[in-house]
């Protein structure tokens, strides 16, 4: 398949007696019991995850759910207790130290929550750090880092030091530093969480815009659902070190796997997230000239606007090739916007 990164049966246990603790975890002991019995902390519990090439895969969870631990297993900043991480057919956990360094240099780069720029290096020196580590010739890397400096919109800031820049600008440098190595995989550890909301939205747009062109495999960690829905092409929800649900954003909202996930999504604005094609009834037979036809990618809020402009009680849905693929009635539309009943019971 198109799976670029495959994580299989991955366990991480922090503590001195990890091997003993591992067998207990495999028997199904809970996190609290494990801590009490062996003084070990369960970081990741049997993670199985496939990440596709060229997509933005969001890993979401509250703090302590193990998402930062998980992402650090991909470049082995943290060593696992048990399991396998295959990236493009290479088992990352079997690499020797030397191979690992080269792997990190060529195949993946990382953007950090607190930017983690080198304070003693200028913006340009920061951007070319990854290339300098690879001992690439200076004239080549200077050209490349100049290109990325421009690409993230920081032209002219070459010789500034990181602390002379605002948070948003600093993270642009962080992004440029990660992109400059041309690595296929981009790991983003809560990359925008430290920014204020307006700048965060702006950076999300920068990322989406870059991704349209670059088609990198991006693993994006966040605790912010709105962010996950905005940029994620697939979302994995993590809780206490296990994956609770791994699905497309639309499916996560429409079919949450358990109470934890429903709890997570209860406050989002459904009409702005759910797309027309997710709630339509599939049918291709109907064809009426007067009925408005809308794009399947349209969110429900916009569909509502279209419907209220006319006197009809339903709209037709077309796909990107202008083919009619289904219809949505007003009732279906309102149902889609409404929170699922079980939740209303629970939180009323």
């Amino acid at each position: 398949m198109n799976n670029y990164i495959e994580i299989k049966n991955l366990y991480k246990i922090f503590g001195n007696n990890a091997t003993e603790a591992l067998s207990l975890v495999k028997e199904g002991i809970s996190k609290e019991e494990l801590l009490e019995k062996t003084n070990c902390v369960l970081g990741l519990n049997n993670i199985n995850l496939d990440i596709r090439k060229g997509k933005i895969h969001v890993i979401m969870g509250l703090s302590g759910s193990g998402k930062s631990t998980l992402i650090r297993h991909l470049n082995r900043l943290i060593e696992p207790t048990f399991g396998e991480v295959m990236i493009n057919g290479v088992n990352v956990l079997k690499l020797s130290n030397k191979e690992l360094l080269e792997y990190r240099q060529k195949n993946m780069s990382m953007v950090f929550q607190k930017f983690a720029l080198f304070p003693h290096k200028t913006v340009l020196e920061n951007i070319n750090y990854g290339l300098m580590v690879q001992k690439i010739k200076e004239e080549i890397y200077l050209e490349k880092s100049q290109f990325w400096l421009k690409r993230v919109g920081l032209e002219g800031y070459d010789n500034y030091y990181p602390n002379q820049l605002s948070g948003g600008m600093q993270q642009r440098v962080g992004l440029a530093r990660a992109l400059a190595t041309d690595a296929e995989i981009l790991l983003m550890d809560e990359a925008f969480s430290a920014l204020d909301p307006l700048i965060r939205a702006e950076m999300q747009d920068v990322l989406i815009d870059l991704q349209l062109e670059l088609k990198k495999t991006i693993v994006f960690i966040t605790h912010d659902l709105d962010e996950a829905l905005k940029i994620g092409e697939r979302i994995s929800i993590l809780r206490d070190g296990s994956v609770v649900q791994d699905d497309s954003p639309q499916k996560i909202i429409l079919n949450p796997a358990d109470d934890y996930v429903s709890d997570f999504i209860k406050d989002i604005n459904r009409s702005r997230v759910i797309k027309a094609k997710s709630i339509m009834t599939k049918s291709i037979s109907i064809k009426k000239e007067t009925v408005p036809i809308i794009d399947g990618e349209m969110v429900l809020e916009e569909v509502l606007q279209q419907i209220t402009k006319t006197n009809h009680y339903f709209v037709l849905v077309k796909d990107s090739k202008n083919k009619i693929i289904g219809k949505i009635t007003l009732k279906e539309l309102l149902k889609g916007i409404q929170r699922p009943r079980q939740e209303i019971k629970k939180y009323a």
Partner: protein, 292 residues
């Protein structure tokens, strides 16, 4: 009940034998190996002598000009340069020029030696907790043991002269630079180190490209402290044959010459202040990237 009043000590003969054994063992050690060890330090001696000669034989206007230039390049402060100029004029006028040059030479050589030995030790300590647990108590001993005590074996081994003096100064002055190098490297932000690692930097790339540059202000505080302690030790080291400002101070103590003691003592103070201000300025300028 006598054992409660009087501490149950080793009997006299035993104690005498014990001291004798230790003394004899060390005497025979120094007889057998003293010459070899002395030869080992010969390059150091020639270096020190060459340095001292350079200072003493250069015409004083050139020396002053060189010192002032270094002060300016290091501190970029007119005030410090003017103060240094005035101080050296006064030192020369009161007849302490040659002693000051000798002291300057030994301080500079001692500091260089401490940097060359101390920084690698500090780096090793920062890299491994085991090395740190091993070295820290040794540093504690070096800093607290009365300096007269380790003068004894040094003199027994190497006799009286410049090299034993230099070694005594270094033993006294090296702990701060080792400690602060270790501390500076350990204090480097873990996130930044992780970033370097994520780009595949190896140990040396991390050390030379990230850890040492970020630790440099702290390391420099260590250099500053090392120089200060070396200056403090110069007077004591003059007891075992180190030339310079310490010697007249020693003479002044034994003969109760108030003026001589004060003049030379103040010259040491002046040197200390100049060294301190200049090195502090360098340390501050290293952190330029922190301010905007």
């Amino acid at each position: 009940m006598e054992w409660l009043i009087k501490f149950p000590e080793m009997d006299r003969d035993g104690l005498r034998e014990f001291k004798k054994t230790v003394d004899n063992a060390f005497t025979s050690f120094s007889r057998n190996y003293g010459e070899g060890i002395e030869n080992f330090f010969d390059p150091l001696l020639s270096f020190l002598i060459a340095f001292e000669k350079l200072f003493l034989n250069t015409p004083w206007p050139i020396t002053i000009f060189a010192i002032l230039s270094i002060c300016w390049l290091a501190s970029r402060s007119i005030l410090i340069v003017a103060g240094t100029f005035l101080s050296f004029l006064l030192i020369g006028y009161f007849g302490m020029w040659e002693d000051t040059m000798s002291t300057l030479a030994i301080i500079l050589v001692a500091t260089l030696l401490c940097i060359c030995i101390g920084i690698p030790i500090g780096i090793a300590m920062a890299r491994s907790n085991k090395v740190q647990t091993l070295i820290l108590p040794i540093l504690d001993v070096m800093q607290t043991i009365p300096s007269f005590v380790y003068l004894i074996p040094v003199v027994m081994l190497l006799g009286i002269g410049k090299v034993p003096g230099l070694i005594a100064v270094c033993i006294y002055a090296i702990p701060p630079i080792v400690r602060l190098t270790n501390l500076g490297i350990r204090l480097v932000d873990k996130d930044i180190l992780e970033a370097a690692e994520s780009f595949g930097a190896n140990y040396w790339q991390k050390l030379l490209g990230v850890q040492i540059p970020l630790a440099l202000p702290t390391i420099f505080a260590g250099v500053n402290q090392t120089i200060m302690m070396a200056l403090a030790m110069v007077v004591i080291a003059s007891m075992i044959g180190v030339q310079g400002l310490g010697l007249p101070v020693l003479r002044a103590i034994s003969n109760q010459y108030l003026a001589l003691g004060l003049m030379n003592g103040l010259a040491i103070v002046v040197l200390a202040i100049i060294f301190d201000r200049v090195t502090q300025r360098i340390g501050k300028r290293m952190q330029k990237y922190k301010s905007d």
